[in-house]
């Protein structure tokens, strides 16, 4: 849902989003902005299945996520930092079920295999899964 909302924003039309570690071969070399969506961990923070919570019966989860944005090295990663900043700003204000915290953008790094530069946007996401969904 977060990524789908980001994709609808005009500033990010030039960004292609992919899931982490797919079985498809990655384009070589990287020819434009590519963003890999990575869920590093998901933790059950609180379980309300047997009790009450402000959101009803269900489980509260905390996920650590990362969006890794790649740009071709040949253009010195032109626009990469601006794109990362814009994406951070959007993640702060995006309206969706859940709470985003710990937003952080890493330094520019170089990936020799892909001949690309990249930055990591990491954040924590708290979301509630209702008891009805768990029963499915």
């Amino acid at each position: 849902m977060i990524i789908n909302k980001l994709r609808q924003i005009p500033e990010f039309e030039r960004v292609r989003f992919v899931r982490e570690f797919t079985n498809q071969y990655a384009e070589t070399p990287v020819s434009g902005f590519l963003a890999a969506v990575i869920v590093k961990s998901t933790e059950l923070t609180e379980s309300y299945l047997g009790g009450e919570s402000p959101d009803g019966r269900g489980d509260l989860y905390t996920a650590e996520a990362e969006i890794r944005i790649y740009a071709p090295n040949g253009k010195n990663g032109s626009g990469l930092s601006a794109l990362a900043g814009d994406m951070l700003a959007e993640l702060r204000k995006t309206d969706f079920p859940g709470k985003i915290s710990g937003l952080k953008a890493g330094a520019i790094e170089y990936d020799q295999n892909m001949s690309a530069v990249f930055r990591r946007l990491s954040f924590k996401l708290e979301f509630f899964v209702s008891g009805e969904d768990c029963d499915e």
Binding site: M1, I2, I3, N4, R7, R16, F17, V18, R19, E20, F21, T22, N23, Q24, Y25, A26, E27, T28, P29, V30, S31, L34, A36, V37, I38, V39, T42, D59, Y61, A63, A65, R68, Y70, N73, G74, G98, N113, M114, S115, L125, F127, V129, S130, D133, C134, E136
Partner: protein, 117 residues
């Protein structure tokens, strides 16, 4: 010798396409460290490397020139001119597999605890 025994290749450099001849062969290493693909955040990538020997007039651009040989495509990672007595004799290059454009195919995963990221 390249004209006589080389393979037919097409060198794509930007808008320029050059039909020429060259040798393209897999690099062989004793410890076979280049066998198999590797996982990367953006997907799979091949670590295999290929040796290119071509005519000195056919210049290659690193990370830009694509060498098409038969049904295979390669991207130039490194290229050097081999000279004898100051005269260019051949182009030596290391190539890796060229992979086509990655399409945006992100689908949220609704099976992860009922929440799509």
């Amino acid at each position: 010798m390249i004209d006589k025994y080389g393979n037919s290749v097409v060198i794509h450099s930007g808008d320029n396409n050059v039909n020429t001849r060259a040798f393209v062969e897999p690099l062989r290493y004793k410890n076979k460290i280049y066998i198999g693909g590797r996982k990367h955040a953006l997907g799979m990538y091949s670590s295999e490397k290929y040796l290119y020997i071509g005519k000195p007039d056919d210049r290659l651009v690193e990370d830009t020139s694509v060498v098409e040989c038969g049904e295979d495509k390669y991207i130039v990672k490194r290229q050097e001119i081999y000279r004898v007595c100051g005269e260019p004799v051949y182009v030596w290059a290391v190539l890796t597999r060229y992979r086509e454009l990655t399409e945006d195919e992100y689908d949220s995963d609704k099976t992860s605890f009922g929440y799509d990221y």
